[in-house]
Amino acid sequence: MTTFLRQLTSLTTHFIRVELANLERLLSPILFSTTILILFFFAFSPMDQEVFVKVYIAQTFLSMFFALQIGFARIFEPDDQDDAFTLLRTYKPIPEAWFLSKYIVITLFGVLVISSTMGLSIFFNQSINISVASWSVFLVAILALLGIAALGLLLSAMMLKADAKQILYPLLYFPLTTPVLLAAVQCSQEILINNMSLSELLSSWLGLLLVFDAIYIILSTLLFGELVKSE
């Protein structure tokens, strides 16, 4: 346990340092989601009031998913540039510690992307009659992030040495994360349109979202170990 915690701490602090050393890696996805939001807004405006909330949810979640996908796909770039990934394999860190350290970093990054995207989307979608600002919807987005971050991290490790990963990654990432997107969007619609609370949604879409998260996190942690173990 001590070794696990020690490795988790050194790996996490190191990976955070590496990410902060190159702010472009954080800024690019945020700028990308902003651009996508603007494009959506142009494509959907002007909107009827009755579809306004649904379009806001669609715009926001899709922009976040696209931006997060870019961030997830690049999570191992610093490890790949001088093949530090291979060297790390020879050091034989506990695979779960390695996975969790990257997962913590990728989740922190994801929170920043979600916060900025949702904040901007609320700002763009201001309406006198309806307010789309909701902490419950923000929490739903964070819960969705927990699941897709695990899957995104695993896919990124799988494609480290693959050709054409820029096209392969989204081809795998988007279909596999469809359940999370569906659950998150349905939850958000129930919250904003039908004024349902999070506790009421626990027995339906929110509960499903939590189950998806658990499945993806456990599966990804186990399978990551298979990818990095020494021969």
């Binding site: 490795q7 050393a21 530090a84 291979t86 394999r89 020879t90 050091y91 034989k92 021969e231």
Partner: protein, 175 residues
């Protein structure tokens, strides 16, 4: 292999020397046969890469690798090692991102990592690529010291001059 041994892998290009070293390092599984270790901790250096995180400094890289193996490196140890490799300038060692280093400087940093490690087994693939003459002599001394202190090494090197005196055994690969 025994303490103090230097096994030199020789052979023409494409004969399997690097593959063999990677098998020892646990990066590739052998199709046949097995390797058993008394001590499974080793330092590996690849021929085509150095394993650096390019956006952070030399000192940050060395501290990270040291921490991961629980080698408690003091700042003094770090500074001394970087000094021997000519990387002691505070700006170069503490501030400059490794991506700005020359090929030779990156290799020296990698050798500093190997040297700072207390692992008994060194697995080195073309360790002297890009090194100047002074660094070649330094590497030769570091290697000899490692072997004298009971370590062993498996080395691939087309240039034998820095390792010739330390070789105890040669394994020749044929095409």
């Amino acid at each position: 292999m025994s303490p103090g041994e230097l096994l030199h892998l020789s052979g023409p290009n494409g004969s399997g020397k690097t593959t063999f070293l990677k098998i020892i390092a646990g990066l590739i599984a052998p199709d046949k046969g097995s390797i058993s270790f008394h001590d499974t901790h080793y330092e590996y250096l690849d021929s085509e890469s150095n394993g650096h995180y390019l956006k952070i400094s030399a000192a940050s890289n060395l501290r990270f690798w040291g921490k991961l193996k629980q080698h408690h490196l003091s700042n003094q140890q770090l500074d001394d090692e970087l000094l021997t490799w000519g990387l002691s300038n505070p700006y170069i060692s503490q501030k400059l991102a490794v991506e700005n280093f020359s090929t030779g400087m990156k290799r020296k940093l990698a050798l500093a990592r190997v040297s700072l490690s207390s692992e008994k087994i060194w697995l080195l693939d073309e360790p002297i690529l890009g090194l100047d003459e002074k660094s070649l002599n330094l590497f030769s001394k570091k290697l000899a010291k490692h072997l004298n202190q009971g370590g062993c090494a498996v080395v691939i090197s087309h240039d034998l001059s820095p390792i010739r005196d330390s070789i105890t055994r040669t394994l020749t690969f044929e095409s």
